[in-house]
Symmetry: C2
Subunit: 215 residues, 2 copies
DNA sequence: TAGATTGTTAATCGATTAACAATC
DNA sequence: TAGATTGTTAATCGATTAACAATC
């Protein structure tokens, strides 16, 4: 069964759809039930042409007179981005950053939910952290398999990263949000998104300097 | 005075230079003092052609016989990415995420250092958090100006984001690492990098699903 | 020397933007 | 109707990759 047109939507477009949905949710609480491409574009810091093209790619139509129906568009994006029965996330590495991510992600209401955390340190396992059960990393493979967890957030020490990733992949994980500043190797069917804060800071530092050493 | 060739290096290339430097630092502790483009490429998950092109752009040369000298290359990248007298960072928003970022960034040794944190909540100000002084957000403009802080990390609640950004910009901030999931408006000379975790998770969830709903 | 690698230009690829007929 | 907006194709732009002469 092929629910959607199944034609590949690019990574960039998926990112923007996620952003559009968030902006539309705010718009929905306001005046008009419709929005023009130029309005949404300006909220998203994009161009009207890009908004129209993105919506074309997901087969969503508007009207030249009124623009796009906000609620219908939200529903359409939900259909694409959300899995009907939600998707479960495992957090691996319950250090400072891991705990903050736990609180942060739990705070957003979404079809995505962290259902378990794992750590090597026995002092951290066997109890709830931010309402999420924290288990020994030894129990991770069974847990991921039995609970059909497909996503992982990686926040372990650098040295442990690759071996934890290998375990995650062997357990059936399909995508990893990686906070560890080291390139991790995965098979082609597994997706990785690297959020490398030091790299971002170094990049910003460079461009801040370029911006004008004037005064 | 024009220290570097000053020809614009692209954002992507700067990101890779930051990554190369990190990988080279590890290589430097090992066997050979030289590295080939294909070796560095494979560590960085890139292509040899891209590595050579990046190094060409910064005017760094190797030898067909031995490849690139590791220490010389590190020194060259330092010259481009680092400011001789370091660059100071302000953290705004000392919630769960802010405190974790404080610990994380302090942990990396770098020419970049968080020198102050700011929060609206009086319960959090007037004391050290992770060794960093935390001040009232009212003192922020003076502090940023007098200490010549050019970078900011933004981790405040959504509602406060834009007004805090306006204050930062007015105080002379040149670049912002933004963890708040809302598009912020800045003048053209200010650089923003958005690290939007929920967007990344939603993107990964989509591609994890595409990857094969097979079994 | 023969063989591998560098430095650099040209070709390719993908994504964004412009343009404009069709529509309300 | 006149005027603005949509839907979509074509043009543009930027970044990556391929190719290969020069070099060690």
């Amino acid at each position: 069964m092929k629910g959607q047109p199944a034609r590949a939507i690019s990574e960039r477009t998926i990112e923007r759809l996620s952003l559009y949905r968030r902006l539309l949710a705010k718009l929905a609480r306001q005046q008009s039930p419709h929005v023009y491409s130029h309005t949404l574009a300006s909220l998203a810091h994009g161009t009207p042409a890009q908004v129209r093209r993105d919506l074309m790619l997901i087969g969503f139509s508007g009207s030249p007179a009124r623009g796009y129906n906000i609620q219908d568009l939200i529903d359409r994006i939900d259909l694409i981005l959300d899995s009907p029965d939600g998707q479960r996330i495992a957090l691996v590495g319950v250090g400072n950053l891991g705990r903050a991510l736990l609180a942060y992600i739990a705070g957003q209401r979404s079809k995505l939910a962290i259902v378990a955390a794992f750590d090597r340190d026995p002092a951290k396992t066997g109890r709830l952290i931010n309402g999420i059960p924290c288990h020994s990393i030894l129990d991770m493979p069974d847990f991921i398999r039995s609970r059909k967890i497909t996503l992982a957030v990686l926040a372990v020490p650098q040295d442990a990263a690759q071996s934890v990733v290998d375990t995650l992949v062997a357990s059936g994980i399909r995508a990893i949000l990686n906070f560890v500043p080291v390139p991790i190797r995965v098979p082609r069917h597994v997706h990785v998104d690297d959020l490398d804060m030091m790299m971002s800071l170094e990049k910003l530092a460079y461009f801040a300097r370029q911006a004008g050493n004037g005064d």
